[in-house]
């Protein structure tokens, strides 16, 4: 049974870490992940602890590293993830690392700032050229179509908008032109109109290519606008409005030559900027590539360092301030490992006085550690989800490994479905080292973690499917049915005999839609089918009645065995915790109650199966009535199940007495317990009334619980029935329809029908039904099984281990 039966023994150890070597020791401990630290400074707030400065430094390093990773990702440089995780950096290296990183950050910030500036410059120039290009068309259009200018004295067309001409007219015409964000155009125009009271003319056109904002990287659509206005006052206002709407305003050239000149100048400057920008980007890339090589190990190292300081913050200083005292929980089996790790740490730091440890006795409850492997992990998780086991109590996970898949399979009993599930799980198990499966998300991850559970569930479903003789709702005739139809039709009897025995003749066969096989006729029933249900039931109309009775009884039997087992496990707990009186006063009465009522029910079921045969079946009494009568009228003289039944009443009376005594006995138990506690603690007040109440409630709860829990196990029957019916419906509605069609079209039709059948089988029967059976199996374990013995009030052992730190970049970026 090993370590899975109970959690491991723990001991509280005190570590005396010399202040010079504490860091190295913890680094060694973290690599091994042996111990759980206790927080000795709980009432000190986080910023008043000893090593807060170091933690701050780690955070600063993390900030720089996050910045580096962000920049590297932005430049699309692949980040190499190392296979091995580097150890926490020695203290001497930390400063060096910090300096190096800080230098890198400063350099990087400078280069990126330069780059941004260059890009912004470039963008401005590009915008300017766009503006020049677009506004040229505005002016031309104005010249040709704008009626506003008709009232001016006729001038030559090409110089109409010439600035100097306008000046000659006495009105000072001004232009403001630039670019504006697409979304703001409308509001901008309105505001212009209102402020300037219509003394402006605004023309704008959409820029065909969107430009990228260098700061946010957003691609924005722009409009080019040109505002012409008279008078300086309005000009000021227009400029202010432009500022308000964050327009990019560029000087507007007055003459065509000027425009050309500017454009040429811009083009050369853009060319220059491009080359400079390329150079800068190349340099930046070089820097980043160099940084990318070491960034992974740096990230891991800083994380480890931070974890170490967090742990050191939990230690307290001794009086002389020379060494740190840490209190840790450590499994007893690992104590020598712990010693070795401390030695290693001391040796590494070259300290003269070694760090050492000693165990200290404690009354506190240690954390629970149950070592698992990849097979048992899933089952342990099912148990832990209900509650982590109390220290050293019997761990139900061990038994869950078999009972869980079995109970699941009872509800999921189908040979075919089970086999598909088994194959799926097998696929996962065989490929479990595949990296894509390891990193899969959400639902797939859930399946992957439960692959061994799935595997066993599939296997057991195959088994129960064989017993139920169900394969996609059809039975398989492997060994030949034990029933023979021809015997019903035998002609060796006289007609009178035939009538008496209900044998068939031609007229009966012809006129009756339903015929009944009678097992009492010799030769009709030749003995049971070797494995599971006889396939002939698949044809019978009373198949459901037969299966219901079988499955119902089976689930009650399984349930009671399961619960009785739970009560017996309770005895192991009492033995281990040295509470002998609990065995006599709790477990034995509980067992008696369970066995005398429900054990007797099982006995009756089995007895009836064995004793009554086809011939005597008509006189067989109903178990249900017998069972009820047993409680109500012990003297009722119906013909009982068996001859000595009245004798049982005596036994039953005993059991009833047991029931009535149970309450008081439990009270005694309560007394004993508290007296024990009284001796130990000397402080807990003895309150008889309260204890009486809780014990009475407990007794009643157990008695009622037994009944309701037994009823609860009927879900095994209900779910298995539902599953069988659902798969039957799927078969009749799809495949049978497909098979009935004519041979010529049938082939064509059968293909989509089978495909649909497969899809529905997987989604409804395998996934949906599987999930519901899974949930019910979990419930049966958590409630019906575990409440018989499992307290589950422990805390999990969480070792200080670097392996628990995530070694991904993802959460740095986030």
């Amino acid at each position: 049974m090993g370590s899975l039966f109970r959690s491991e023994t723990m001991c509280l150890a005190q570590l005396f870490l010399q202040s010079g070597t504490a860091y190295e020791c913890l680094s060694a401990l973290g690599e091994k992940g042996l111990v759980q630290f206790r927080d000795l400074n709980q009432n000190v707030s986080s910023f008043q602890r000893k090593f807060v400065g170091e933690v701050k430094r780690c955070e600063e390093l993390e900030r720089i590293l996050a910045y580096l990773v962000q920049e590297i990702n932005r430049a699309d440089i692949p980040l190499p993830e190392g296979e091995t995780s580097p150890p926490a950096p020695p203290l001497k290296q930390v400063l060096e690392m910090q300096e190096q990183l800080q230098k890198l950050e400063v350099e990087l910030r400078e280069v990126t700032k330069n780059k941004e500036k260059l890009r912004k410059n470039l963008l401005e120039l590009i915008e300017y050229t766009h503006m020049l290009r677009v506004t040229k068309t505005f002016v031309k259009r104005n010249v040709e179509f704008e009626p506003t200018y008709e009232e001016f004295p006729p001038l030559e067309n090409d110089s109409l908008l010439d600035y100097s001409c306008m000046q000659r007219l006495g009105a000072k015409l001004g232009f403001v032109s630039g670019l504006i964000n697409q979304g703001k155009v409308e509001a901008f125009e309105k505001m212009l109109w209102r402020v300037c009271k219509g003394y402006t003319i605004v023309t704008y056109a959409e820029l065909d290519e969107p430009l990228e904002d260098p700061e946010t990287g957003e691609v924005i659509k722009w409009y080019v606008f040109l505002i012409s206005f008279w008078g300086e006052q309005i000009g000021h206002k227009v400029k202010k409005i432009c500022d308000c709407y964050h327009c990019h305003v560029y000087p507007y050239p007055n003459t065509a030559e000027e425009r050309k000149e500017i454009q040429e100048g811009l083009n050369t400057r853009i060319q220059d900027l491009y080359t400079v920008l390329h150079k800068t980007e190349d340099y930046l890339r070089q820097v980043l590539c160099k940084a990318a090589e070491s960034v992974y190990s740096h990230v891991i190292q800083v994380k480890k360092m931070k974890a170490i300081y967090h742990m050191l913050n939990m230690c307290s200083f001794d009086v002389t301030n020379k060494c740190l005292i840490a209190e840790v929980w450590c499994p007893e089996a690992d104590l020598h490992e712990l010693r070795r790790a401390l030695e290693e740490g001391s040796r590494e730091s070259g300290a003269t006085i070694p760090s050492f440890m000693n165990t200290i006795p404690t009354k506190e409850t240690p954390p629970t550690l149950i070592r698992t492997n990849k097979f048992t992990e899933g089952f342990q998780n099912i148990v832990d989800a209900y509650g982590v086991g109390s220290y050293r109590e019997v761990n139900p996970a061990l038994f869950t490994i078999i009972t869980f898949p079995f109970l699941f399979a009872v509800m999921f009993g189908d040979f075919g479905h089970g086999f598909v599930m088994f194959l799926f799980a097998l696929l996962l198990v065989l490929n479990e080292n595949h990296p894509r499966l390891n990193q899969s998300q959400e639902i797939m991850r859930m399946f992957f973690n439960g692959r061994y559970i799935l595997l066993l569930m599939g296997l057991f479903s195959v088994y129960t499917g064989l017993i139920y003789n169900d394969c996609f709702s059809k039975s398989v005739n492997l060994f030949g049915s034990g029933w023979s139809v021809s015997a019903m039709y035998s002609s060796s009897h006289t007609p009178a005999e035939q009538k008496k025995m209900g044998l068939w003749n031609d007229s009966i066969v012809r006129h009756n839609r339903v015929l009944q096989l009678d097992p009492s006729v010799p030769g009709v029933f030749q003995g049971p089918y070797p494995l599971g249900i006889d396939p002939i039931w698949n044809l019978a109309t009373n198949r459901l009645t037969f299966l219901n009775s079988f499955k119902m009884k089976m689930s009650v039997i399984l349930g009671i065995i399961h619960m009785t087992f739970g009560v017996i496990l309770g005895i192991f707990n009492h033995l281990h915790f040295r509470k002998k009186f609990n065995i006599y006063l709790v477990s034995v009465p509980e067992l008696l109650f369970m066995l005398c009522i429900f054990g007797y029910l099982i006995f009756m079921i089995v007895y009836k199966w064995l004793v009554y045969s086809a011939e005597t079946s008509r006189v067989a009494p109903s178990i249900l009535i017998e069972f009820i009568n047993m409680f109500l009228f012990p003297a009722s003289e119906t013909n009982g199940l068996y001859s000595g039944q009245s004798g049982y009443t005596l036994v039953r009376k005993d059991s009833e007495e047991e029931v009535s005594l149970l309450g008081s006995q439990d009270i005694e138990e309560g007394n004993n317990q508290i007296e024990d506690g009284y001796r130990e603690m000397m402080c807990e007040e003895f309150n008889f009334g309260e204890i009486l109440m809780t014990q009475v409630i407990h007794s009643i709860e157990y008695c009622l619980g037994c009944i309701s829990n037994t009823a609860s196990y009927l879900r095994l029957w209900a779910l298995s029935l539902a599953h069988a019916q659902l798969s039957d419906v799927l078969w009749t509605m799809l495949v049978r329809v497909g098979l009935r069609v004519d041979t010529t079209y049938g082939v064509l039709l059968l293909l989509p029908v089978i495909a649909l059948f497969a899809v529905l089988t997987i989604f409804i029967l395998l996934i949906m039904e599987g999930l519901s059976a899974f949930l019910h199996a979990i419930r049966l374990h958590w409630v019906e099984f575990q409440n018989k013995f499992y307290v589950g009030a422990g805390t999990k052992f969480v070792p200080f281990s670097f392996r628990l730190l995530s070694s991904k970049f993802s959460d740095d970026v986030a």
Partner: protein, 351 residues
């Protein structure tokens, strides 16, 4: 709204109400304040705030940390939350949100106009503007020379436009006029908001009306207090009082006649709600200021707003509580950075 709108409330606003209640749970607790007060440096404040719901909102700030950096980041956080609420809201909750932002918008407009008066650049003042009251036309405020200009050119399309009806005048904008404008705007804003909540009915009216009544009366008191010893005439003063409070109408008349703090206190004595507040005000040297007392009362009302369900008041209350919390943090941070620890405990505790 129909009678018993509680039935339908969750269809439209249930998600947001749940969200805002969750946000309210993240307000700093008494224990947090006790820890914050013990901090030695701003770095300690940052470390402590990291353990609360603020998370590492200061992580990207380069050293050295200053109070204003903390303040801006906190405001940004509140603004993000508020924007989220607002973007996911449906009518009439979105109108309610618009009303909520109006008060910040008024403050921003006044701030910008004052800045323009003192010939400061717009950018410099924009930093100081509250992000909740930001709107695009805001920066053009300094174009205007007179209130009517301001209305016609800049604010006509903003939610502030309806509040301008009472204050259209051709006066030039000097410092006094701006202050008058602010109070008039605020008066009509409060009245409009009050009317909106009243018309909305249901629990929203039951919760919001007392809060807004209190807000109106508080303004009346504060205006009175600030006008002592200024050239503001008593009639002018009365026109500035919001008329939706409990003081309306008799109390406001009396307040308009008050000439010093004692007379004001006598007016408040007529009202059961305000009497204890004025009694709590310390005299001169020690004790609380009138402002602090009002703040405490406001916090109390806002916290109580969370006791009822199916109303919009929670959004208002949450924003106000968060603001108060930010004021507290800034106060504590200021005390720490200026090494002026004697008054560090006079933040307003949020219950």
């Amino acid at each position: 709204m129909l009678e018993g709108a509680e039935f339908y409330f969750n269809v439209d606003h249930g998600y947001l109400e749940g969200l805002v209640r969750g946000c309210k749970a993240s307000l700093l607790t008494q224990q947090d304040y006790i820890n914050l007060v013990q901090c030695e440096t701003l770095e300690d404040v940052k470390i402590h705030l990291q353990t609360t719901d603020y998370g590492n909102f200061l992580a990207n700030q380069t050293n050295p940390l200053t109070v204003s950096k903390i303040d801006t980041e906190m405001r940004k956080k509140l603004c993000r939350e508020f924007e989220y609420f607002r973007n996911h809201s449906l009518e009439p909750l979105s109108t309610f949100f618009t009303y909520m932002t109006c008060s910040y918008m008024i403050d921003n407009v006044i701030l910008l106009m004052n800045g323009a008066l003192q010939k400061k650049s717009v950018k410099e003042i924009l930093v100081k503007c509250h992000p909740l009251g930001r709107f695009t036309e805001m920066e053009a405020v300094n174009i205007a020379e007179t209130p009517s200009d301001l209305f016609n050119a800049v604010l006509v399309e903003t939610p502030l436009a309806p509040f301008f009806q009472d204050c259209m005048s051709e006066n030039t904008l000097d410092e006094l006029n701006i202050e008058l404008l602010r109070n008039k705007l605020y008066k009509s804003y409060l009245e409009a908001f009050y009317k909106f909540c009243k018309n909305h009915g249901d629990v929203t009216a039951e919760i919001m009306c007392p809060i807004l009544e209190f807000e109106a009366d508080r303004r009346a008191f504060i205006i009175t207090l600030n006008s002592f010893g200024t050239e503001l005439s008593k009639d002018d003063r009365e026109t500035l009082y919001p008329t939706c409070g409990k003081l309306y109408p008799e109390g406001l008349h009396l307040l308009a006649q008050a000439e010093d703090f004692d007379q004001m206190r006598r007016v408040a004595d007529h009202y059961g709600v305000y009497k204890p507040l004025f009694e709590a005000v310390g005299d001169g040297s020690g004790g609380k200021t009138l402002e602090d007392v009002f703040y405490e009362r406001e916090v109390q009302m806002n916290v109580l707003a969370f006791n009822r369900q199916f109303h919009y008041g929670v959004f208002y209350a949450y924003t106000k509580l968060k603001e108060q919390e930010m004021r507290n943090i800034v106060w504590i941070a200021e005390c720490i950075s200026q090494r002026h620890r004697t008054k560090i405990n006079s933040y307003i505790p949020i219950l």
